[in-house]
């Protein structure tokens, strides 16, 4: 009996399996990219970077609250210029493993998104992920770019103009909206080649004894198990709304979770918080478990499964 085929084609990228290290999880150095590759990940996303370096928030920045993790790391990054070197080095190191490198960027204004994108494009990542969950500093309410079709589209256009046609773009959407399908349609219309969904869900963990929020930043982003059903629903809505590939992300801890994501319509599967639950090895183990699941269920390829639960 031949084993299940895990190879995954995401736009131009050839991946040996659909598991993608999600942005912001150990994506801060080329040695960490290497480690992810060595344990068998399909592709690696770097931590999101901005024009200027950012130190991030003071501790506590993250904790396990029982059904998942909450974090407010504060988008710590060395700034775009330094990141270009990190990414170039990362690409070189990942090359022999056949593991594509996805860069991730964010900014506070539409124009700045273009600037950061133009800089990062110099490192020639295989895909550029645009993290639009950050607040729009130019909007009077600080409305996140990911919340409104128009601003999500404006950022996408700005990035597309900055990087030209050669670099594919994935736009990363946030779950705290009522119309993620329409937002996906707007960014695809504006030039996105793929969608990553979802980013963390905004939340707050309070310590009753301390009578205050635990995170220094008070609010943070929820990830892990608790958000898996939110992510699956978002991926399903997006898959109904657009035809582009989706990197389905949120709460994937096991191979079966990854299968659910693909059944909901995802082409590739982002994995982040599972590193806490199962160690860095999770990035390879989940792919193996997915293969074993497909084998046991008589599913030969990812294409056979994709979107099957939402037809």
């Amino acid at each position: 009996m031949g084993s299940a085929d895990l190879t995954c084609r995401l736009l131009g990228l050839e991946m040996k399996n659909p598991i993608v290290l999600a942005s912001g999880i150990i994506g801060t150095s080329s040695s960490l990219f290497l480690r992810a590759a060595q344990v068998g990940v399909g592709a690696v996303t770097a931590k999101s970077c901005s024009l200027q370096p950012r130190a991030g928030h003071p501790n506590p920045v993250a904790l396990d609250w029982g059904a998942g993790v909450i974090n407010a790391i504060g988008l710590t990054n060395p700034g775009a210029e330094e990141e270009v070197h990190l990414l170039a080095e990362g690409r070189r190191i990942l090359e022999p493993y056949g593991v594509p490198l996805i860069a991730s960027i964010f900014a506070g204004t539409v124009e700045e998104f273009g600037q950061v994108a133009a800089l990062i494009a110099q490192a020639r990542p295989h895909l550029l992920e645009v993290n639009i969950s950050c607040p729009n500093v130019a909007d009077e309410f600080g409305t996140p770019f990911a919340a409104v079709c128009e601003s999500a589209a404006a950022v996408t256009e700005s990035v597309r103009r900055a990087v030209g046609k050669d670099l594919p773009i994935a736009v990363k959407l946030a779950p705290n909206v009522y119309n993620i399908g329409r937002i996906a349609a707007a960014v695809v219309e504006a030039g996105a080649d793929a969608i990553t969904a979802i980013n963390t869900m905004p939340g707050m963990v309070i310590d009753a004894h301390a009578r205050r929020p635990v995170l220094h930043n008070r609010t943070g982003g929820l990830s892990g198990m608790a958000i898996k059903p939110i992510a699956l629903r978002c991926v399903a809505e997006i898959a109904h709304a657009v035809k582009v590939p989706i990197i389905g992300t949120g709460g994937v801890n096991t191979g079966e979770d990854a299968a659910e994501m693909i059944l909901a319509g995802a082409t590739a599967v982002g994995v982040g918080t599972a590193v806490w639950y199962r160690g860095v090895e999770a990035l390879g183990t989940i792919a193996q478990e997915l293969g074993a699941f497909m084998q046991a269920e008589g599913i030969r390829s990812l294409d056979e499964m994709r979107g099957q639960a939402i037809r």
Partner: protein
């Protein structure tokens, strides 16, 4: 009815029952509660409104920490009054393993804390232990008498010779290894000391378990901030710690590394 999940990684308030000066800048904090953990693991100690930092576990039943006053969080921990609370998240990370019959301990600074906890567990498991301590000066030597009280032989090295022998801790460990080969060397202390011990053990063929200090933020293997910088060799070129993989995370994979 379903059973509810018990979140074990949330901060829990621990009540301070004793705060004792160990030396001019170090305190031992003893709490009312116990913690289910292993020697070499650490906790995140949070003072609401102040901050959260990692601390080695100096004892589990009751929980004990040793805190050196060097900055905002450690300073505030020094001023917590008995009866007040400290919020503890953990235990986190991978601790020391109890292997073989003889363990040699090598401590620098607050490194005595996890090693004292380890010594007690090792003795309880029927192993023998010996400890080498390095410090600048006599006033920096910590808990030597507590090890002695356990019946653990202590070799003290000070940089100024004000206590024990003059010199670095590696001199003591070299002698100890020569005198009686340990099944493993367990160390905790500053980066330079660990690197030196690592080289020494490599040369002498001794298995070692080294507890590395890194800049920890999430403590969960997610943020990447606790990756150790690659050490520079004497020729200025970068090389790896013999005991580490690329991308080794002190918070999740460590703080204790293991090398045969």
């Amino acid at each position: 009815m379903s059973t509810m999940m018990q979140p074990t990684y949330l901060h829990r308030p621990f009540t301070l029952v004793s705060s004792k000066m160990d030396n001019y800048r170090t305190r031992s904090l003893t709490f009312a509660e116990k913690l289910d953990c292993q020697p070499g693991q650490y906790v995140m100690a949070w003072l609401p409104g102040v901050g959260e930092k990692p601390f080695s576990i100096a004892g589990d039943d009751p929980l004990q920490l040793m805190v050196v006053d060097v900055g905002p969080v450690s300073h505030s921990l020094h001023s917590v009054a008995e009866g007040q609370r400290v919020w503890i998240r953990g235990p986190l990370g991978q601790g020391y393993r109890l292997v073989g019959q003889r363990v040699l301990l090598a401590a620098g600074g607050y490194g005595v804390a996890p090693l004292y906890y380890l010594a007690r567990k090792a003795l309880a498991a029927g192993m023998s232990a010996e400890v080498c301590m390095g410090a600048r000066s006599a006033e920096d030597v910590l808990w030597a008498e507590r090890f002695q009280a356990l019946g653990v032989p202590v070799r003290v090295m000070t940089e100024d010779g004000s206590m024990g022998e003059r010199g670095l801790v590696t001199k003591a460990t070299e002698a100890a290894i020569a005198a009686a080969r340990p099944d493993s060397l367990c160390a905790c202390g500053p980066l330079g000391m660990l690197e030196a011990l690592d080289r020494q053990c490599e040369q002498l063929g001794v298995a070692r378990q080294l507890s590395w200090e890194a800049h920890m933020r999430c403590g969960m293997g997610l943020c990447g901030s606790c990756e150790l910088p690659a050490p520079q060799g004497e020729d200025g070129s970068l090389h790896r710690h013999s005991c580490q993989q690329p991308g080794w995370l002190a918070c999740l994979d460590g703080p204790v590394s293991w090398k045969e």
